[in-house]
């Protein structure tokens, strides 16, 4: 049982790390601000989501698990909203304003 949970943790966190890597590559390689933002939000949603999902079985009881999930929700919310704000600024003033 424990071994199964550990395997689940390792594979989910690794998958999350892969999304972080992909998002970073996207951030560095994509041509303009909007596509770079698109790469970043994938990291927030999927990368961190998978890391949190993988860490849930290792969490310190129900409250630990709830804290992890709420961190994910908060990061997702702030990520999505900050992305909207930056994208709005880019549209208003152009990519170099």
């Amino acid at each position: 049982m424990n071994l199964g949970l550990d395997i689940f943790t390792v594979s989910a966190v690794s998958a999350g790390a892969f999304f972080f890597l992909a998002g970073t590559v996207g951030l560095l390689r994509f041509p303009d601000s909007l596509t770079r933002l698109h790469a970043l939000t994938k990291v927030d949603n999927l990368g961190l989501g998978l890391v949190v999902l993988g860490l849930l079985p290792q969490a310190n009881g129900l409250f630990g698990a709830l804290k992890l999930v709420s961190i994910w929700l908060l990061v997702q919310m702030s990520g999505a909203i900050v992305t909207q704000l930056i994208a709005g600024a880019v549209r208003q003033r152009g990519p170099h304003g």
Partner: protein, 313 residues
């Protein structure tokens, strides 16, 4: 080599790299962004050193609050006149030499410590139970070095007075010049409606849990200040003029309660800032709650800047 030491080495390399790029940045804006990232990386380094209290403070104050203050300064400089004048070479050389000297002094102090390294940590842990606190950092801050903590809060108010003094006489007592991005139904409005309830709970949780575990008034106050700034920037609440009496009352309530309890200690306990036996923890928690409010208001007003508009009647 374990995976943790690989992580640590990577972290140190990143911190040094970000530090160097912050210094090397030619423009103010990238330098500030570098500084914020530097603060966040330092916070992770403090976690690795098991100093979670310091990590929280570094992330909140070093990365977040100072970053916001510096960004505000950059935005102001952009519209200021005469900032395209380059500093002369001797001035830059002198600044560089001074900084290098300070860095070298710190390095010598840290790299050649006396042996054995003097520490009061065992004494703190031995007597911590008497205060009813579980977090040794809170014990040091509020029991053993309470005077330092009190003066630290007073310094914060002095800093705010310094910022307010930048206002011209005609707008003294007016409204700080924080830029407001009010757009009804906009994304920022949504965030400013959704986040503060969560943030306020987190702020007071940090303040409350500070007695037993990492956390405390400064971290909680910073979160509170961030929530207040968010609501003001989104235009959901008016920025108060600095002559409002509730604002000034909130600014001083923390230090005043701290001072009052300290003075009462001269009568009820044995010394200034001493707590009567058995009442240490409730008194400290009361001081922490009041300080959280004062720090939140002080940091919020610091980030709002000096008054720029006359108070509307």
């Amino acid at each position: 080599m374990t995976i943790l030491s690989v992580f640590d080495i990577g972290l140190v390399v990143l911190i040094l790299g970000i530090g160097a790029s912050t210094i090397a940045a030619r423009e103010a804006f990238p330098a500030v962004i570098g500084y914020v990232v530097y603060g966040l990386l330092l916070a992770i380094a403090w976690v690795r050193l098991s100093a979670v209290d310091v990590a929280l403070t570094e992330a909140a104050i070093g990365g977040g609050m100072t970053g916001m203050l510096l960004l505000g300064a950059v935005a102001r400089l952009r519209f200021a006149e005469g900032n395209d004048v380059r500093t002369s070479l001797p001035t830059r050389l002198a600044a560089g030499v001074m900084c290098a000297l300070i860095a070298a002094g710190l390095a010598i102090a840290i790299l050649s410590p006396p042996d054995p390294i003097p520490t009061l940590a065992p004494m703190v842990m031995e007597h911590l139970a008497q205060s009813g606190l579980g977090n040794p950092v809170a014990g040091v801050l509020f029991v053993y070095r309470a005077l330092d903590t009190l003066l630290e809060k007073v310094v914060l108010i002095l800093a705010l007075l310094g910022v307010w003094s930048l206002a011209p006489d005609s707008v003294w007592g007016g409204i700080p010049g924080l830029r407001v991005y009010a757009r009804p139904g906009g994304t920022l409005t949504f965030l400013a409606q959704l986040l503060p309830p969560v943030g306020i709970v987190v702020a007071f949780y940090m303040c409350w849990v500070g007695a037993k575990e990492p956390g405390g008034a400064f971290q909680g106050g910073t979160v509170l200040a961030a929530m207040w700034l968010l609501v003001m920037i989104a235009g959901l609440k008016r920025i108060p003029s600095i002559s409002q009496s509730w604002l000034r009352l909130l600014l001083v309530v923390g230090p005043v309660i701290f001072l009052a309890i300290g003075l009462a200690g001269m009568v009820l306990a044995n010394a200034f800032l001493d707590y009567p036996a058995g009442y240490a923890k409730p008194l400290i928690v009361a001081v922490e709650v009041a300080l959280t409010l004062s720090i939140g208001v002080a940091l919020g007003m610091l980030a709002s800047g000096p008054p720029e508009r006359v108070r509307q009647p």
